[in-house]
Point group: none
Chain length 227, copies 2
């Protein structure tokens, strides 16, 4: 079984090593680069499955580096952004299968995002591709079962798909429109509030811990709470 190789490009040494530590701990193998130039060298010589790329870097910005990488490679890229202000810029870009993480981030968030992106890219994120674990929740895509704290929870079709979509977009705020479009289909005509009802039942079934947070004025976000 082949290891997943991740290239981290960030000018801050501390951040590089922090990310490396998180990732190595979860069984990924890391290559580090302090700037775009070093990154290109690694890309030339190693097989990289995913790139984590800081946006704010002195010489070339992350966006510039991304553009240059994209000339030759279609490797998924996850952006790291330091401040909230850059979010929308990243959002603005239509990045396809890619994603972005805002600092500071938790190990769990980082791993979840990476797995989600790898899953979308069709790579085997973890060996049992069928299973996703998020906190006390274990989702089995193949069996279409969900276990919460080691006991099986029965979900309906829509509930299951909702949870799966949240898992694939871990820690991202998702609008009702987005959810309806991806789970119900873009031809869905009906009330946005339908989502609310399903969120309600999902919350109930997933138990006391509030995995699904309300993002006021936007929609919902799935995240494992840190106690």
């Amino acid at each position: 079984m082949v290891q997943t190789n991740i290239l981290i490009i960030d000018d801050e040494e501390d951040m590089r090593h922090l990310a490396e530590m998180y990732l190595e701990n979860s069984g990924f193998h890391c290559y580090l680069a302090a700037n775009g130039q070093e990154g290109y060298e690694v890309l030339k010589n190693k097989t990289i499955d995913l790139i984590i790329l800081d946006i704010m870097m002195p010489d070339e910005s992350g966006f510039q580096v991304c553009a240059r990488i994209r000339e030759k490679y279609s490797i998924p890229i996850i952006f790291l952004s330091a401040k909230g202000e850059e979010w929308d810029k990243v959002k603005g870009l239509q990045l396809g299968g890619d994603d972005y993480i805002v600092k500071p981030f938790s190990p769990g968030e980082m791993i979840a995002r990476i797995q989600a992106v790898l899953r979308r890219a069709g790579l085997t994120a973890n060996d049992t591709q069928s299973r996703i674990q998020l906190g006390e929740i274990v989702i089995d895509r193949m069996a279409r079962t969900v276990m919460v704290a080691d006991s099986l929870v029965a979900l309906t079709l829509k509930e299951f798909e909702l949870l799966l979509f949240f898992a694939d977009h871990y820690a991202q705020a998702l609008s009702r429109e987005q959810l309806l479009e991806h789970i119900w289909g873009m031809d869905y005509i009906g009330s946005l509030r339908t989502v609310d009802t399903h969120i309600k039942t999902l919350r109930m079934k997933l138990g006391v811990a509030d995995y699904i947070q309300t993002v006021w004025g936007i929609g919902y976000k799935f995240e494992v709470q840190i106690k």
Copy 2:
């Protein structure tokens, strides 16, 4: 009827009994050992077909136990690992036909893995391997016969193929489309509901225990129920 004997080596009592329950429910016979030493004793005195071995154990680690077992036996071993961090160690080992399961696992996943490993290991013209046992059901691929609770049950072609496909995709939710495509052929044109009728007759013939579950909005799933 030939029983498949499985030896479970794990220091945690709860985990031993959980695994035992899962396995006994699927028609396997289990021996339990709390450490390597106890395991060796069982191996000396009993015929074991497969070993489930926890990696993280206080005295001897699972890896050490594995090495000692391998000096004398070539019985397939499935590792149990508790944390993500150990994955890559397991990955690193070239374990041949063996496998590993990451906790927490679902009953379905465990059974599916065991079946897969047994099938791979069974390349040694051992006629027991054309047999698949799932709970009270024993399927003989070669003879194309099915026994439920030790008595022969006559299945039609489609019923048998359906059951076989379920067995080969144990604990997976399968859509009517998937079933039609693989059993009837992808050129099949007709009602999806045809599947329902065959499920109905299969359910009837397999007896009271509900092996075939309905997965609402998707299709069906074959699984031995835990009482």
